[in-house]
């Protein structure tokens, strides 16, 4: 199985406050990895570092086997990374990001939202981009809204468009930063279904989520983040149903009263377990 993303000792501090304290994580092609954890555990920061919306303080990020940035050693012998903005633009173009707040471009139609980056960055013609947009809007089930403006859509529809916009760049990996947290409860399902479908189609995904049911049913691996470190990692059963670490157990006790299936319950779609 080929590796798409590898993090080695990823560290991020804001001033003196460490948010990520050395994260090691690998995501392989076609895999869905879910990151769960309490607010403030560093989940969003982790995603933002991966596509350099925030710069890591230390550590290495490999995308498709290639180290991002250049390692330099200062006079004292300390190693740090140097990044060039042009390289980071290229990295971001190969990493799809879906935000909590959708962040669609309100002055463009749905279709134009999906077409702009392939045209301007990948150099596609308008016709090619339109064709590609149609494919990805279809994947998230929102083809009929192609000519609408974002302001005319529900939150769930907007988020699916945002997913299509990221997919249209045909990224090596898709990052989801609490993609359903800003949605009204009745709109969460449609977005999760779209994401599940992508996972089933073999999209490589790193998903930060509070939807433990989604993590349980869709993820191949679940990572539990606690105070900036990976506290527990494993299959959904291991981490979400039979956690061994006390912090994971505390977290799950706090959030799962009504959400988690009983340990004996089988996953909803066994063919999707990928094991």
């Amino acid at each position: 199985m080929s590796e798409v993303l590898r993090l080695e000792g990823l560290t991020k501090s804001y001033g003196k406050a460490p948010v990520l304290k050395g994260i090691d994580l690998t995501v392989n092609r076609g895999e869905t990895v879910c990151v769960v954890g309490a607010s403030g555990s560093g989940k969003s920061t982790l995603l933002r570092c991966i596509n350099f919306l925030g710069y890591p303080t230390a550590g290495r990020i490999y995308l498709e086997g290639k180290l991002i940035g250049r390692e330099v050693t200062d006079r004292a012998g300390a190693k740090s990374m140097r990044y060039k903005e042009a390289e980071l633009c290229a990295v971001r173009a190969h990493v799809g990001m879906v935000f909590q707040q959708f962040n669609l471009f309100p002055h463009m139609t749905v279709e134009e939202n999906v077409m702009i980056a392939p045209i301007k960055i990948r150099g596609l013609s308008k016709a090619e981009a339109k064709e590609r947009a149609a494919v990805h809007l279809q994947r998230v089930g929102i083809s009929e809204k192609a000519t609408a403006f974002p302001g005319q859509l529900s939150g769930g529809q907007q988020q699916r468009v945002a997913i299509a916009r990221a997919l249209a760049m045909e990224p090596a990996i898709m990052l989801f930063d609490e993609a359903t947290s800003a949605l009204d409860p009745e709109l969460v399902g449609e977005v999760l279904l779209a994401m599940r479908r992508l996972a089933q189609e073999g999209t490589t995904m790193l998903v930060v989520t509070h939807e433990l049911g989604f993590a349980y049913n869709v993820a191949r691996r679940v990572v539990f983040l606690h105070e900036g470190t990976i506290h527990e990692e494993g299959t959904p059963e291991q981490v979400l149903v039979n956690p061994t670490k006390p912090r994971t157990q505390d977290f799950l006790r706090g959030v799962t009263t009504f959400r988690m299936p009983e340990p004996k319950l089988a996953p909803a779609d066994p063919s999707n377990r990928g094991e």
């Binding site: 290229a90 971001r92 962040n103 471009f105 002055h107 302001g151 005319q152």
Partner: protein, 227 residues
Amino acid sequence: MAYTWDFNFLLSVGPLLLKGLVNTIKLWAVALSCGLAIGLAMGLCRTAPSAILRGIGTVYVESIRNTPGLVQLIWIFYALPIVTGLQSSAWLAATVSLSLYTGAYSTEIYRAGIASVEAGQWEAARALGFGYGNQMRYVVLPQALMRMIPAFGNRAIELAKATTLASTIAFGELLYTAKTIAEDQLRPLETYTAVTLIFTAILLPLSYACIWLERRVARNNGGAHHE
């Protein structure tokens, strides 16, 4: 009332007034176009990541905004030939000074408009792989411009009134033309009344258009962010 109003002579000086009006409109159009272009360049400087560019923008805006427009006009009228070697002309001095004047105020409109675009918009464009310039060009500026339109309308109205400053350096716009007619005909009250009415007739519809645009833009923004 001892004074007897008589507007009849205005018919005979109509062509003169019209010529003045045409000059006013020319000055207005050129200064507005140049001012908005300067404003765009300086507005981009004011919001740039580079501290040097931001500094240039700030110096420009503050030096223009904190001196009277009339003083700038007179200073440029006398200084321009010495600084640039260009032959002095009232037209040149008036367009240059009103352009700089409008430019400074529109710089602030651009800056505020750009700042009003949510951080999430920049981030989404950045996450797609756009560099700073393209984030600005394709995502931020188009949205900001929509929100700026009413403010530009108000600026255009302000500038139309400010064109009368050019009468002080004997540029033949509407007010200067009126002054010569008033002296010639010995009918200042009627002449300046006519000037007032001409300005009102032109600017009142513009003002209402601005109010209408403001409402429209507000409604569009509301629609775009109903979630």
